[in-house]
């Protein structure tokens, strides 16, 4: 059902995502470059606090903390940006949903595409950063990066679809998500390394839904390696569970939410 709707309106989705992206910073001198200013600034702050002040080191010997951080932080920013923006997609497009017969899921998909473009720009940036500053040359596994990014955002899309539906009916959901997402990033080893936890905890940490997806991206970039089978199984599990949950909730609520827009 959802897939059929998305396929039917694929062109509208792509074009909207592109123009959203293109015109988000329209009129500013730096234009599209603002997209990378924010992640670079965040990187700078974390490097100062964790590496310089707290003495955090990357897991591998001699690896730079900054390079470790960027590989995880950038995908997280794309993921959390999708949930933040996409969660509000129905409310933001209420004026359209009130009068145009477009399936609402189209607007969440638009956010998915916009986030994907954003992530691809981050990857592009990494293609410069890693060889130049870290001496890490892109390996064969890097070819898998777009797929890994798409999967990470697919998980985000499912969560976003649930939130977007709920947010129309419960105003508190918006606030909840806004605050929760800040806490969420600290519950997984993105800014810090997994080995700060006791070994017995480490497996459970991996169950945090987006973590293994982010770790997959990081593994490709830093080690030119794809995740082991167990990781794949857990990721697949999350995609199935959240996918079903999103489908059920969307199916139940989408006829009703337009009544309240």
């Amino acid at each position: 059902m959802i897939l059929k709707e998305l396929y039917r309106h694929r062109k509208y989705i792509f074009e909207n995502a592109l123009s959203d992206f293109r015109y988000r910073y329209a009129g500013t001198a730096l234009g599209v470059f603002w997209n990378i200013v924010n992640p670079l600034l965040e990187t700078l702050i974390y490097v100062i606090i964790f590496q310089q002040l707290l003495g955090m080191r990357a897991p591998g010997k001699g690896d730079s903390y900054a390079l470790f951080l960027i590989a995880g932080l950038f995908p997280w920013l794309a993921f959390s940006g999708l949930i933040n923006q996409g969660g509000k997609a129905y409310l933001r497009n209420a004026n359209k949903l009130r009068v145009i017969n477009l399936p609402p899921v189209v607007f969440v998909a638009t956010e998915y595409c916009a986030s994907f473009i954003q992530l691809m720009i981050y990857f592009g940036l990494m293609l410069i950063i890693y060889p130049v500053f870290g001496g890490i040359l892109p390996g064969l596994a890097w070819l898998f990066l777009p797929v890994a990014g798409a999967l990470l955002l697919l998980l985000g899309f499912m969560i976003t679809l649930i939130i977007a539906n709920l947010q129309v009916l419960f105003e508190d959901v918006g606030e909840l998500v806004h605050h929760f997402i800040h806490l969420w990033r600290w519950t997984m080893p993105v800014m810090y390394t997994l080995d700060v936890f006791p070994e017995s905890w480490q497996f459970w940490m991996k169950l945090n839904p987006p973590y293994l997806f982010i770790d997959m991206v990081r593994g490709i970039i830093l080690n030119n390696a794809l995740p082991p089978a167990l990781d794949w199984l857990i990721m697949l599990g999350w995609l199935v569970v959240l996918g079903l949950a999103a489908a059920v909730i969307h199916r139940r609520l989408s006829p009703e939410i337009r009544d309240y827009l």
Binding site: R8, H9, K11, Y12, E15, N16, S19, R22, Y23, A26, N95, K96, L97, R98, V99, I100, N101, L102, L169, F170, E171, D172, P255, E256, R258, D259
Partner: protein, 457 residues
């Protein structure tokens, strides 16, 4: 008979109203065992069929459920009960400009919009030049919509819709904007569409449009289908709707027992047929709509009724028709000192007074009481010939006390809006218009002529 292009079966939309959003959560957690919402039927039991080439006008006051109905038909809202069948392709223009991407050009927006409605690139290419030409946007068609004026936006939107092939075109009051020349063009275009067997559904407040352009009318009042059928009867039915013209009695505010008690006493007095003054015919009590009494200073308006020439209560009046107004005041608290004078004032949509005349102005020598004590009633029957331009008007009622010895006219019931009405042209044919402009001034013309025989051409 041909298969109807649209068949609507018992269509209805219910909204669940919650006081707070938490209430919904409570319902969910108890799996619906605990009911926290109230149902509100915005529109219900709608049933009609349209054939190819029909032009349906949907009439109804604000909040009657017209838009909800259209939204269900265009797929924006999911019906709560009933169903409808469309045989063909339906396009709906519910609001101008939404879904328009400001940063894209007119051409790109037109293409996008067409794609949303499922048209292929080929179909868009076939029509894009017609759309451009009709919209009169010229080179602006290639500029971003953000540079457009509101009139230009309206033109772009309507053009997009009028030139894409469809079987049913749904329009919601969209022609309220735009300049007069473009409107004219739109109606011309709609005529062409109808000739090509396109079915059009138009929602409007203007009885005049329905009267001049539609062949079918659907009248909705408070979510109920009041009438569906030929437009003449539909227009008549719409005129008789009691709602919102007058301040109708609102049952929710009439719960206080003392008010109900008081109401009975007044009704008793009104029913009692013992009046002083000139003899006149007065409609029976049950013909008056129940209104919330309006009190200003020492007068309370207890009754108000406007009837057309056939003696039917209406808000739609043919141009030149003689209407009769009936209204009754009750005197409270202070007496009316001097002769009472009351009359209806007609205002146009720009709030200009078109006409007003009270009984004292009509005849200063009329027999009237010099004083009316509290508890007195006074009632008026006034005739007005509606020789005014077609359009929407508001009737206000005003009362004064005329102190002849002091030469004073004092307002004791400041002009209070009692109803809105529309004057329509009974004939569509331009040959039969009786005058141009705002008002019919009395007058006549005489003509003489001589035939020539110069033959120099």
């Amino acid at each position: 008979m041909e298969k109807p292009v649209l068949r609507v079966n018992n269509l209805g939309k219910r909204f669940k109203l919650y006081h707070q959003s938490q209430d919904r959560l409570v319902e969910w957690l108890t799996l619906g065992a605990k009911r926290k919402h109230t149902d509100f039927w915005a529109v219900r039991n709608i049933q009609f069929e349209l054939q190819r080439g029909d032009f349906l006008g949907i009439l109804g006051h604000n909040g009657a459920g017209k838009s909800t109905l259209l939204k269900m038909l265009s797929g924006v809202l999911t019906p709560s009960e009933g169903s409808f069948e469309v045989n063909g392709r339906m396009l709906s223009l519910l609001e101008l400009g939404t879904g328009t991407n400001e940063s894209l050009t007119g051409r790109e927006n037109t293409t996008n919009r067409a794609k949303i409605f499922g048209f292929s690139q080929q179909e868009v290419d076939d029509h894009i030049s017609e759309i451009k030409e009709f919209s009169e946007l010229g080179e602006f068609f290639e500029y971003p919509v953000s540079t457009y004026s509101s009139g230009m936006r309206a033109r772009l939107n309507f053009s997009t819709f009028a030139f894409l092939d469809c079987d049913i075109l749904v329009l919601d009051e969209v022609l309220a904007v735009g300049d007069i020349f473009f409107k004219q063009k739109c109606y011309q275009r709609m005529d062409e569409l109808l000739k090509n067997d396109t079915t059009i559904i138009l929602v409007t407040h203007s009885v005049q449009y329905v009267n001049s352009f539609c062949n079918k009318a659907l009248v909705i009042d408070s979510g109920e289908q009041v009438y569906m059928g030929e437009k003449e009867e539909g227009v008549r039915m719409y005129g008789r709707l009691r709602h919102k013209q007058l301040r109708t009695l609102d049952t929710t505010t009439q719960k206080k027992p003392e008010l109900a008690d008081h109401k009975e006493k007044v009704q008793e007095k009104l029913a009692d047929d013992n009046w002083q003054g000139k003899e006149m015919e007065w409609p029976p009590l049950e013909q008056f709509p129940e209104i919330l009494p309006i009190r200003r200073r020492n007068l309370v308006l207890e009754q108000f009724l406007l009837q057309n020439e056939e003696g039917v209560m209406t808000t739609v009046i043919n141009q030149g028709e003689m209407v009769t107004l009936y209204y009754t005041f009750r005197v409270v608290n202070e007496p009316v000192e001097g002769k009472i004078a009351a009359g209806v004032m007609i205002f146009d949509n720009l709030n200009r007074v078109v006409h007003g005349r009270d009984n004292y102005q009509a005849n200063p020598h009329m027999h009237l009481p010099e004083r009316l004590e509290p508890g007195s009633f006074v009632r008026f029957k006034q005739k007005v010939k509606m020789d005014i331009k077609e359009g929407m008007y508001i009737a206000r009622l005003r009362a004064l006390q005329v102190k002849e010895d002091e030469g004073l006219r004092e307002t004791i019931f400041p002009s209070e809006q009692v109803m809105s009405f529309e004057v329509i042209l009974p004939q569509k044919n331009a040959l039969f218009t009786r005058f141009e402009g705002m008002a019919d001034l009395a007058g006549s013309s005489v003509v003489q002529w001589k035939h020539g025989d110069d033959g120099d051409h």
